[in-house]
Amino acid sequence: MVSYYLRLAWLSVKKTPVLSALMVLAIAMGIAACLTTLTLYQVVSSNPLADKNAVTFAVQLDSWDPNEDYWAVNGVPEQLTYQDAKAIYRTGNADQTVLTSRIGVTVEATDASTPPKVEDARLATRDFFSVFDVPFRYGGPWSATADAHGEQQVVISTALQHHFFAGEYPVGKSVMVEGEVYTIVGVMDERWTMTPSVYDLNTGAFKEPPQLFLPFFNVERRPFASWGNVVGWKNEDVRSHQDFLATEMAWVQTWVSLNTPEARAEFEQFLVNYIHNEKQKGRFERPLKYYLNTPEQWLSINGVVSRDNRILVYLSLAFLAVCLVNAVVLLLAKFLRKAPEAGLRRALGASRAAVFVQHLAEAAVIGALGSALGLLLSWFGLVGVRSLYSHYQEVAVMSGFTVIAALVFALVSALVSGALPAWQVSRSQPARYLKAQ
C-alpha cells in the first residue's frame, strides 16, 4: 500500500510541476536557513570538554578591589594573580593543575638560518595537555621536574616543525624562543583545535591553536609579552619583573581536575584556608568568594554564544515557520482541487484513514524532495557563513549527526504541514461528488 501511495504521490507531483516545485523550494529554503544557523549554533554552543565536565574546573578567586566589584563575567576576575595561581600549583593538591597564559614570542632557528617570526604561544603547566586532550605527533609533554622548575623545553606545532626542520624528527633538537635556547620535547598533532577554545575565552572563543607551549614557570625567570588580558585594580609600584609577579594583577588562567567528590571537598577546604591565611596578610579584603566552574558554566559565563547567534536562530525558525505555512497553504490548495477524486475513492471503499495517509504520503514526497534540496542549500549556506565570519572557519561544518537530524527534522516538518490539508481532504463527503459534475 505504501508503494501505491508513493506512486500516486509522484503522479500528483508531476501533474502540477510548477506548484510542486514552489512547495519544494519553499520547504528547502526554510530547512536550509534553519540548518545553517542551527549548525552554527550547535558548534558555537557545544562543550568540547563535555566528557569531563564533572571533574574539570576553572578556578576564580575574588582578590579584587574591596571598594568596587570586578566589571565583567560573574563579578569575579576570570584569572588569578601569579602568587595565588602558584600557591594552587604548589600546595593545592588537585589531581591536575593547569596554569596558563597567552603570550607572543619571537621564534628563530638556532643557526639564524631563517628570518625570525612572532608566534602565538602559551605558557602552561604540563597538565594542560591531558586536561585539554592535546594529541602528540612526536614526543610528549615535558617532565614533572621540568614543569616545576620552568625548564627551557618546548612543545611546538606541526607547522613549526615543518618550518624549522622540514619534517625531520624534531624531538631533542632546539629552537630559539625570545633569544633563548629551548629543547623540543614534543610536537602536537595538527588535528588539535578546540572549538570553542574553553581554555582561554578572553581573547575570542574561536581561535587557532597556539604554535608553542612553554613550561609555565619560565615566567619566574623572565618576562614574556602577554597576548592576553592583564587586569589590575591596585596602584602598586612595579620596578622589576619580580615586582610584577608579586602584584595584585590577575593574568593566570587556572584549571584543576578533581576526580572525586572527596578531592573536590578537600580542594575547596584548601581554598578557604588559603584565602583566610591571605586575609591575615592584608590581601583578599572582599568577602570570601571563590568559584569552581565546570567547562559548561565557564562557556556560559563568558557568553560564548553571542546575541547574534541567538537572533539568527530565532530568525531562521520564524522563517521556517513562514515556509511551512506557505507549504500548508499550497498543499491545501492542491488537495482541495483533488477533493472530487478523494470523494470518488471514498465511494469506492477507501476509508477516511486511507485517504488521509495517501495525501500525507504526497506531503512526505514533497518534504523529502524539499529536505534533500534544503540539505544541499545549507551546504552552500555554511560556505557563505564561513566567508562572512572569518572566525567561524573551523566552526561552520556539518556533521553526520546534523545531516541525519536535519533530514528527520525536514520530513517531520513536511508531515506536520501536510497533516492539516490531508485531514481536510479526507473529510470530503463521498456522496457530494457523485451528483452530475
Binding site: A26, S306, L315, N326, L388, H391
Partner: protein, 403 residues
C-alpha cells in the same frame, strides 16, 4: 468606484482555512521583516558611525626589536624619520598601545582626585602613550588647548614611572570629569596615582576596542615606556599603497627585527565590524527570501482560487462583468488579506520587539515599522497576484456553458 468587498469577504469566510493560513503567513513575515529592518538599521548605523579620526588615510604597523633589545628613543625617532621620508606619507607617529580599532591596548581608571580621597570618582578610559605627531597623524580635531610639544615626550625606562607627563583627553571624558569646566591646565590622575596635566581636548574618536563601554573615552599620554615593541601610524592619500614601502623602510634598518601586521585602518575597521557586516547581509537575505516565499505563496493560492472559480468567472463574464471587474475582484481580495495580515503582523512584531527589549537589552521597535513592512508586502503581493488575476480576467464567457 464600487469595490465589491462584501462578496469577497463572504467567499473568503466560507473557505476559511486557506485565507486564514495565508494571513498567518503574511502576518508572520511582516512581523519578521519589521524586526529585521530594525536590527539592520541598528547595524548600519553602528558601522557608519563617525570614527572621529582620519581613518581612510591611516595605516599602522608594529615593530618588535630582537629578543633582549629595547626600542630606544633614537631608534623610534629614526624609524619615524624614515617613514616620513617615504613618498606618499604625509605624517607618521609612534603610539605605545591602544591604536584605534587594533583590538589591543590598555585601559585605566581616570579621576580628578588621587587615590585615598573619599570623593574620588573615576572612569575607565583607554591609555594611549603617544608622541607629538599623534594628534595630527590620526587626524584628531582639537577643540581646546594644544597638541604635545616634541620636547614634552618622555621616553621613560621600562618598569619605571613617567616623571611629569601631559594628557590630551576626549570630549566625553572631559565632560564626565570636568562637567563643563575647562580641563586645560588641570590635573587628572591615572589609576589614582600618576598625575597628568591636561593640555588639550579633542573631539571624540573610537578607541582600540569600540565594543567596550569606554569606546569614546581615550587619553593620549605624552610618555612612552621603552619596551621591545611599538606601533607606528602613518597617514597618506593611499594608505594601502604605502604598506610595502613602510615594511621595507622599517626592515631596512634591521633585517632581524620583527615588522608585523602592517594594515590599513580601513581594513581594521572592516575586521572590527565583520560580525555586523555579516548580520547585515544575513538580515537582507532573510528579508529577500521572505518576500520571495510570500510571493510564491500568493501566486500559488491566487492561481488556485482562479482555477477553482473559472466557471464562476465565466458565468460572471457571461452576465456582463468586465475584465477589469474580474481583475479587481482578485486584487481587492489580496488587498484585504494583506491588510488583515498587517494588523496581525504589527501585533506580532511589537510582541517580538518587546521580547527583544526585555531579554536582549535592545532598543524598542518603533510602531510604524510593521505598517511600513505591510506596505512593502502589499506592493510585492499585488504584483504577484497580478499574473494569475489577469489570467482570470481573460477567461472567456463560454466557460459558463462548457461544463
Amino acid at each position: 468606484m464600487i469595490l465589491d468587498t462584501a462578496p469577497i469577504l463572504k467567499s473568503l469566510w466560507r473557505s476559511k482555512v486557506g485565507p486564514l493560513l495565508i494571513i498567518a503567513q503574511l502576518a508572520l513575515s511582516i512581523a519578521i521583516i519589521s524586526n529585521a529592518v530594525f536590527f539592520l538599521q541598528g547595524r548600519v548605523d553602528k558601522i557608519q558611525r563617525e570614527t572621529g579620526a582620519d581613518s581612510q588615510a591611516l595605516a599602522q604597523v608594529w615593530v618588535k626589536e630582537r629578543p633582549g633589545e629595547l626600542l630606544r628613543q633614537e631608534i623610534i625617532e629614526r624609524d619615524l624619520e624614515n617613514l616620513r621620508a617615504l613618498s606618499g606619507v604625509r605624517n607618521a607617529a609612534a603610539i605605545g598601545q591602544s591604536v584605534p580599532f587594533s583590538h589591543s591596548g590598555g585601559s585605566s581608571g581616570f579621576s580628578r582626585l588621587p587615590e585615598g580621597d573619599p570623593k574620588r570618582v573615576s572612569k575607565p578610559a583607554a591609555t594611549m602613550p603617544a608622541d607629538h605627531a599623534a594628534v595630527a597623524t590620526l587626524g584628531l580635531t582639537l577643540v581646546e588647548g594644544r597638541s604635545f610639544f616634541p620636547e614634552e615626550i618622555d621616553y621613560y625606562p621600562r618598569n619605571q614611572r613617567p616623571g611629569t607627563a601631559s594628557a590630551i583627553i576626549t570630549e566625553s571624558l572631559a565632560e564626565f570629569l570636568f562637567e563643563g569646566q575647562s580641563p586645560v591646565g588641570q590635573t587628572v590622575f591615572l589609576a589614582g596615582a600618576v598625575p597628568l596635566t591636561v593640555v588639550g581636548v579633542v573631539e571624540d574618536f573610537l578607541g582600540y576596542f569600540p565594543a567596550t563601554d569606554f569606546a569614546y573615552d581615550n587619553v593620549l599620554i605624552s610618555a612612552i615606556e621603552l619596551s621591545e615593541k611599538v606601533n607606528y601610524v602613518v597617514q597618506g592619500e593611499d594608505p594601502a599603497g604605502l604598506l610595502p614601502g613602510v615594511r621595507q623602510a622599517l626592515q631596512n634598518t634591521d633585517a632581524r627585527r620583527i615588522v608585523k601586521d602592517e594594515r590599513t585602518m580601513a581594513s581594521m575597521i572592516r575586521v572590527h565590524y565583520s560580525d555586523d557586516y555579516a548580520m547585515v547581509i544575513l538580515l537582507l537575505l532573510v528579508m529577500v527570501l521572505l518576500v520571495f516565499v510570500n510571493t510564491l505563496g500568493v501566486v500559488g493560492i491566487t492561481t488556485f482560487w482562479v482555477n477553482q472559480r473559472r466557471r464562476q468567472v465565466g458565468i460572471r463574464r457571461a452576465l456582463g462583468a468586465t475584465r477589469l471587474a474580474i481583475l479587481r475582484y482578485f486584487l481587492v481580495e489580496n488587498v484585504i488579506l494583506v491588510t488583515l495580515a498587517t494588523f496581525v503582523g504589527a501585533c506580532l512584531a511589537l510582541m517580538a520587539g518587546h521580547y527583544f527589549t526585555a531579554h536582549h537589552a535592545m532598543a524598542a521597535l518603533p510602531w510604524w515599522y510593521a505598517p511600513f513592512a505591510g506596505g512593502v508586502m502589499l506592493i510585492m503581493t499585488q504584483a504577484a497576484a497580478w499574473w494569475p488575476s489577469q489570467r482570470a480576467a481573460r477567461v472567456p464567457a463560454r466557460e459558463a456553458i462548457a461544463g
